[in-house]
Structures are given as C-alpha cells and as structure tokens.
C-alpha cells in the first residue's frame, strides 16, 4: 500500500502522483519529525520587536529576504543565519531601541511599563525587576536567577563605562534582544531519538508564531505560567481566542501570502508595451482582491470551497477599470461577480498574472501551480538529460503551440498532467482579462480531460478540484508545513491523516484544521535530533 508521503519508487509513479489520497488507518508510526531550531524570519523579527516594545520598527527593511524552503519562509531548515546577520541585527536593534526611548520623536507608550521603577532611586533592585519582567516577554520563558544576574552584570558594565542609568538599561535591553534566546526559538533537545512534551511556554511560542507571526501576548504567557494552557482544552481555547484577534491577519498575509502566492504579484512584470498600466498601484489592488477571496476561509468565516467558488471579491476603482466593469461595491465593500464568468481565486487578475509569461498565458505554469498548491502532486524538475526537441507550428493557436512543444516522449509524461489543468483557464489572458481569442487571433479552446473527466472553464475546474480526493490532505499538508516550520516526516503521517479527517468532518473549516494540528503530538512534542550530522 502506498502511503501519501512515501517516496515513489520511480519517476513514473512520481509523475502519476505518489499520493492517491488514501488515509492510513492505523499507526505504523514512528516519532514526530525532528524540529530544527528556528530563527525568527524578518517578518517575525519585526512583529516581535513591535509587539514587545510598542513601536513600528520597520526592522524587515534592514534584513535580506528570507530563504523559502518547502514553500514557506517559516521553514527552519531554510532560515540559516549567516555571519553578516550579526551586524544587521546590531543595527536594527539600536534603531528599535532609539525609537522605543524616543531619540528622535515621542517615546513608546510602553517605556513606563517596561522601565517600571526608578533606576536612580532603587538601583539594583530596579534593574532586577526590569530584567525579570522583560526577559519573560523577550525570551518567551521565565528567566532563571542566572539570567537575571547576567542582565545586571551587563547593566553594571555600562555604568562602569560612564553610562547614565537609562543608557545602561538600554544597553542591557540591547543584549537581551541580541541574545540567541530572542533571535532563535531554541527548544532544548531531549537527546537523540528521545521524545519529550514541550512545556507551556514552548507551546505558547509555537502557537504565537504560527497564528500571529509574532511573540506570545501577556494572556498567553499567563496561561503558560498557570498551567492552564496544557490542561485539556487549554491549547484549543487559546487558539480560538488568538484566531479572533486582529493579529491572526498574519495567516492571510504570511500563510496565504505564500501558499496562494499573493506575495508574488508584487514581482510580476507583464510586457509593458502591451500592458502599460500594470504598475505598483494595480498590483496592490490585485493583491487586495486575492486577500479578500482567501480571507473568509482563513479567518474561519467560510469553508474552503469559497476559495474557489466565491462570487464576490474586493474590487477597488483601479481594478474595476482593469476589468472594465463598473465600480459598484455592496454594503460590505465587496463587488458581486455573478454573471461575470469569474469566481474564486483562480480567476482573480492577480493569480492569472503570476501564472503567465510576460505577454502570453502559460498552461504549464497554471497547471503546475494547481498541482503543487492544491493537489500536492507537483512533478519533479525536468530530468538532467532532458532533450529539448522543439518543433514549432507555422500556424496554430497558442494552445496548439503548447501542445506541440510537449509532445516529445521526455516531456509528455509530466506535461500531460500539468498542461490540461491550465487549458481549462485559457479563457483568461496573461493579466487576467477574459478573452475570446488568444494573442495570435485563434478562438479560445478551454476544454480538457482531467483524469478522464471532461472539464472546461473556471467553474467546472473548481468543481472538479473540490471533489478531488487529494485536495483536503493537500490543504492540511501546507498548513502543517507553515505551522511547524518543517516538512512532514513519516512519523507525522498519522497526525496529517487525523487533521485531514477533522478538516473534512468540520465542513472544511480552517479553525478545525488549526485545532487538529495544534493539539497533535507533532505540535506538542519535541523529538531529539540525531547527534551525528549526516
């Protein structure tokens, strides 16, 4: 029996799809996968500083873009820290503290909360008090006496160097914010191949970075401290609360931003000769529309199906002009799409643009995207010895050209899977406009056979995808990777199965999927890494 994440024995199987959607019934399971220590990515680093210090640090602008592994910049394996970061961190921390203390403007409203006593009067006791409170928030765990002594020593070192008490406490805060306990999310190893349950603070930290892309708030830390978090129902209750918080918009911004590629719109460059109006403003409008389609599902207000079928979206004046439609939003600010031939994500101008070449559509890109993102069945890159034998049709439609190019034996195996998915969306041009003819003037043919079923157009494609047996597990898998910051391993199979089942049983609602993941052993336990690196 093939399990959904087993490695296919050969290329053919991989192409046909290693996953057949079968759920493993009973556990041949090993331990959950090993969690590598994660570094805060630049978005998390900024959010954390901002929430901690009550400032708008814009810290991400000071850091290079984070590597994306397994589709997300939350994946720990990709988040390598290189030596250059030491200086970047020092500088952005100086900047953040300058904002906090108000060097060039009003100080943060949180100064009085954090610097909570009078250093001039209370001296050492005051430093200890500040250290205890701030360490808990910054390192996301209660400090030990040694930790506090370390802060006091740094403060004293500042005083020795003729710093004022405020300068010295700032120096100590800088040290705290440059420490590995802040920059990374260390979870002490239980030892090779051992498993341990995470403590409440570690669970709180995982929850906060998953749902908020930021640090735990006071209530979450309090639940960790009192033990309430790890009592039955505790994690689910906090997750519920956190999903209702505005900070859960991070799921739209960062999870959907990458899973659904909303972020990529920003770097899309269609041919300006043909599409001179495709500027940053239009891109922002397109991203807003994509978010408006993703949001109901991700904020728990609608089932997954709406992502592909929703018949309304946020279309501002700029985008209405692009679509050549009237700007007539309803009371909720959304525009109705009924009667337009558009529905859901796969007909938004943003999505259709990022999956096109600069001046023509690409069935390959569109098909590949659907396979990778919705069915988790993307074909491997072209094999090393691929022959690029290309014939060109003297006169044929864009689709016929595409079909001709891929007919050679080497290419057909993969492309027979990818391309027909894209053909069904041929009625939408490279910047997302509906069209009756392609660039070469040929009539649009958007009929295709998908695994034997005739499908044409966006609505039928959505129906076909929503009834596909792999789609639920694929949503689960992407969410798992984002949540844990790693790809699932064999020992996580059962968790993914259970979460997929919970997702289906709850009518494909996102909070149910989140609850299943955050209460699973993959989320609540730590497995020790092998001591010898391969």
């Amino acid at each position: 029996m093939r399990t959904p994440f087993s490695i296919a024995p050969g290329l053919v199987l991989a192409l046909a799809g290693c996953s057949n959607g079968t759920l493993v019934e009973e556990d041949p399971v090993g331990p959950p996968g090993v969690q590598a220590m994660s570094r805060l990515n630049r978005v998390e680093h900024e959010n954390t500083l901002d929430d901690l210090l009550g400032i708008a640090s814009r810290a991400r602008e000071r850091l290079p873009p984070d590597p994306v592994a397994e589709g997300f910049d939350t994946v720990a394996e990709g988040l390598v820290l290189t030596p250059a970061y030491a200086q970047l961190y020092e500088r952005l921390t100086d900047d953040a503290l300058a904002r906090f203390f108000g060097d060039n403007g009003p100080p943060s409203p949180d100064v009085e909360r954090i610097v909570s006593c009078d250093l001039d009067v209370e001296g050492r006791n005051c430093v200890q008090q500040i250290a205890r409170d701030f360490l808990l928030e910054a390192w996301r765990r209660p400090p030990t006496d040694e930790d506090v002594a370390w802060v006091v020593a740094l403060y004293n070192r500042g005083m020795d160097l003729e710093a004022t008490p405020t300068e010295a406490i700032r120096l100590a805060m800088k040290g705290i914010l440059l420490s590995p306990e802040f920059i990374f999310r260390p979870e002490p190893t239980p030892g090779e191949d051992q498993i341990r349950s995470l403590d409440g603070f570690e669970v709180a930290t995982r929850l906060a970075y998953f749902l908020w892309s930021s640090t735990p708030d006071a209530e979450l830390l309090a639940a960790a401290a009192s033990g309430a978090l790890l009592e039955p129902g505790g994690v689910a209750a906090q997750a519920d609360r956190m999903l209702d918080d505005p900070r859960a918009d991070a799921l739209v911004e960062n999870f959907a931003g990458q899973w659904l590629d909303i972020r990529r719109v920003k770097t899309t460059q269609p041919n300006p000769d043909v599409h001179p109006f495709f500027d940053d403003g239009l891109k922002a409008s397109m991203q807003a529309e994509m978010r408006s389609v993703a949001e109901p599902f991700l904020r728990g207000n609608a089932p997954f199906d709406t992502l592909l079928t929703q018949q309304k979206s946020l279309i501002d004046r700029r985008l209405a002009l692009h679509y050549t439609m009237l700007h007539q939003p309803g009371a909720d600010g959304m525009s109705s799409l009924e009667g337009t031939g558009r529905q859901g994500l796969l007909t938004t101008a943003g999505w259709l643009s990022i999956t096109s070449h600069p001046d023509e559509t690409s069935s390959v890109r569109r098909g590949h995207w659907i396979l990778e993102k919705l069915l988790c069945d993307s074909p491997p890159p072209p094999p090393p010895d691929v022959e690029s034998t290309v014939s060109i049709l003297p006169d044929g439609s864009v689709r016929q050209q595409e079909e001709a190019i891929r007919q050679s034996g080497d290419c057909a195996a993969c492309h027979n899977l990818m391309d027909p998915l894209g053909y069904t969306l041929h009625g939408y041009g490279p910047v997302g406009l509906e069209r009756a003819t392609d660039r070469l003037g040929f009539d649009i043919d958007d009929a295709a056979r998908l695994e034997g079923t005739p499908v044409s157009g966006a609505a039928e494609l959505a129906d076909w995808l929503l009834s596909h047996e792999q789609v639920d597990r694929c949503v689960t898998k992407h969410t798992f990777i984002y949540a844990l910051g790693r790809a699932p391993e064999e020992g996580d199979d059962q968790v993914i199965d259970q979460a997929t089942r919970a997702f289906i049983e709850a009518g494909r609602t996102f909070p149910a999927l989140i609850e299943a993941i955050v209460t699973s052993r993959s989320f609540l336990d730590a497995t020790g890494a092998p001591e010898v690196t391969p």
Binding site: L81, W150, E181, E372, E531
Partner: protein
C-alpha cells in the same frame, strides 16, 4: 613575504588576540612595502552565457554580439570556453550551486560545498573588515516558492549546508559597509562607544555558550554562524577609524533593476578600493530569473527567452541583446578597476581576478558541459587576459583552481572534479 605576514597574523589571532587585533595594517606601512592585495570578484549572469552565443569560431579571440562590449577594454578580458561542469546540468538549482563549489547536492536540497570565493575569503579574513560580501538584486525568479528557491539564488557557500544569501538592497549593502563611520566624535567618546558595543557583544557570546550544551548538534551548528558573525563584527569595531576612504552617498530605497545593478557595481568598486574586502560575489538574479529590460524594449522574461531563443528568432535576438547589456555592465565595472591605481603602482584590475559566469552553456536544454566565462585582469597572479582560452572540455573546477592560485590559496581538497589548473 605576503604569505609570511598573513601566517603570522593568523597564528597570533588564533591564540591570544582575536577580538582585539587591528583589522588591517596602517595604510602607510602597506604603501611602503609597495604591495597590493589580491582580490577575487565573481559575477553570476543567470543562463546568459550560451556557448553558441559566446564561443569564437576559431582559436583566436573574436567577439560576438553578446561579448562585443569587451572590445572597449582590449587585452584585459579573456573569453574562456568549453569547460565542463559535470556537477551541474539538468536542474537550475544544482547547476547554480555547483558553479563555484564543484559539488552536486542532492536534487532540490540545499546542500553543496564550500565555494571558491569563501575559500579565498577565509584565507584573508583577518586582513580586512569584511572577509567577503555577497550582493544581488530583487530580480523575480521562477522558483520563488519552491525547494529550489535557495539553490538557485546563492552561489557563495560557507560550507556544505550554509549558502550565503546575497544582500539585494543597495541601501542595506551600503549600511553594512559604512556603518559606524562617524568622524565627528572625539577620540575618547569614540573609544567609549566602542567599549559599550564590545560589552554587549561579549555578553551575547556568553549567552551562546550557555545555550549550546542544551541543543542538538545540528542546532549548535546553526548558532556557530552567529558566533562567527559576532567575532567579525568585533574586529570591525576595533578597526573603526583606521579606514581612510570617503563613503559614497547613501543609496535610496527601492531602486529599479537597472539602478540596482549600477549601485551594486559601484559598492563593489568602493569596497575593494577602500580595502574593506577582497572577495565579492554578485548575482544579477537567481537562476531562472524572469527579469525584463523595458529600456531596451525587451519585454519577455529572461527565463522564457532562455528557452525560446533556440527556436524563435525574435527571442534569440532579444536574448542576445539582454545578455550583451549584462556583459556591458561587467565590462564597465572592470574599466573602473582598470582606472584605479593600486598600492603597488599597477592598476587594481591587474591584482583582481574578475569573472562573469553562468550556470548553463545551453539554457534551453539545461546543459552545463560547454560553459563559457569571461575572465578579466589577474595579471599579478600570472593571468594573460585578452585571449580566447579554449578549455577543451576540461572540468570547470580547473578554472576555479586557477582563481585560488591567483589568490595564493591552496586548492587541494577543493571540489570534486578538478584534474589540473587552467592556464588563464
């Protein structure tokens, strides 16, 4: 002579004085010796150097449409052809990651080996504030959100599992290079501020030491890079005030692609001429970059052109024009080096090996077995540029070894496939 001094520095540093070692010798001292440092700069042009677009027909140096700009710097740039990267080929990721490492990682996994620039950087790490710099652009790429994303966007590797991300914002690169240069402070106040910075960094190193025993081996390795970075920063803090070059004007935010390329070239020139670093890599974009050049009316993406050129005449013309533009930027950069007098009285280019390379020799077929590169300068290390050097199918690792020879760095153990040293 250089060798002895460097060895002495390294020996001293590794025992006693590491954090407090002055990062460079005073300029007057070096001027007196009449020595100039060796430098290495590699530029990566994603899938831009097609064998059929670059290789001269015969044995002599002849320029093509793509290489035409090198004529403005006669006798200083060689066209090197027919080098075989058997670690590459096939995927964008492996071909890119193996270009400077000669190690083929597993498919789609961010693994390779130490790259040639990092080997050279390690040798001179104690002589300059920055052992090396990695720069790039925000060029969009096809693999932005897949596992190949890391492999295609890094050519410098500190070790088998640490690819070095290029800085893609010119402003951030500027801040990195010229941070902390404040000549308005009194000497004692500057010293006090340095001491304060040191106290924080010392304290952070203590945190790292106390955390390490609690972590698994792979996690400890992750922290090692941070420790290395802090040590490098400490040395730079000590070296502040010794640097005698005027920082250029700080670049603004969000320049476009063309502006970014120009600014990054300028920053490399300044970093080298101020001896802030001796090793740099620059990526025009990731492999499978999809940039367009609207200024030249090239509106199809680079990656699309890299396939379409082989069967579409229009695409072929656009692709060559696009690559010619990139070669012209490279040549203009080399000219800047050639116009700068070095400390030994020659020009800076003579002491610098400057390479332009691509991961594929035929991007439409993803092959890496007839690689073409441009190699400029390096006369001080025995290079004789201005020729057509036909590698005749030798491993491209042989060229990488030549670069290390130029840098006076021992290449034994580097890469996988080297058979000798390519005469450049």
């Amino acid at each position: 002579m250089t060798w002895t001094r460097r060895q002495a520095l390294r020996t001293a540093a590794s025992t006693l004085w590491l954090p407090f070692l002055p990062s460079i010798l005073p300029r007057e001292a070096r001027a007196a010796t009449g020595e100039a440092p060796r430098r290495l700069i590699v530029w990566f042009l994603p899938h831009g150097m097609q064998h059929v677009h670059v290789a001269p027909e015969g044995g002599a140096l002849e320029t093509t449409t793509v290489t035409e700009p090198i004529a403005t710097l006669p006798g200083r740039i060689s066209v090197v052809t027919n080098l075989n990267n058997s670690s590459g080929g096939g995927s964008h990721g492996r071909s890119t990651a193996s270009l400077l490492t000669d190690i083929p990682g597993p498919y789609g996994v961010a693994e390779a080996g130490i790259s040639v620039d990092q080997l050279a950087a390690g040798e001179y790490a104690l002589d300059v504030p920055f052992p090396s710099i990695q720069l790039g652009t925000e060029a969009p790429g096809l693999f932005g959100s897949s596992g190949e994303g890391i492999l295609v966007s890094r050519i410098s590797w500190a070790n088998a599992t640490t690819p070095l991300a290029p800085i893609t914002s010119p402003q951030a690169a500027f801040d990195q290079l010229f941070e902390g240069q404040d000549n308005s402070l009194s000497e004692s106040e500057a010293a006090r501020r340095r001491a304060l910075r040191h106290s924080v960094l010392d304290a952070v190193k203590d945190r790292i030491s106390s955390l390490e025993p609690k972590l698994s081996t792979p996690d400890r390795h992750r922290l090692d890079q941070y420790t290395t970075g802090i040590r490098e920063l400490e040395r730079r803090i000590d070296g502040l005030g010794e640097l005698q070059c005027e920082p250029p004007i700080r670049p603004g935010l969000n320049p476009n692609y063309v502006e970014t390329v120009e600014l990054m070239a300028e920053l490399q020139y300044i970093a080298m001429s101020c001896d802030l670093t001796r090793v740099a890599t620059f990526m025009y974009g990731p492999s499978a970059s999809d940039i367009t050049l609207p200024d030249l009316s090239i509106n199809q993406g680079s990656h699309q052109l890299s396939h379409a050129w082989s069967y579409d005449d229009g695409a072929n013309g656009d692709f060559q024009a696009m690559n010619q533009w990139h070669v012209a930027q490279f040549v203009a950069f080399c000219e800047r080096l050639a116009e700068h007098e070095d400390q030994d009285g020659t020009d800076m280019l003579a002491n610098t090996a400057v390479v332009l390379g691509s991961e594929f020799s035929d991007a439409s077929a993803h092959t890496s077995d007839q690689l073409c590169m441009l190699v400029a300068g390096g006369e001080a290390g025995g290079f004789r540029p201005g020729r057509h050097v036909n590698g005749g199918g030798q491993p491209h690792a042989n060229l990488l070894r030549s670069l290390l020879t130029h840098m006076n760095v021992n290449w034994s153990g580097f890469g996988q496939n080297g058979t000798g040293v390519l005469g450049l």
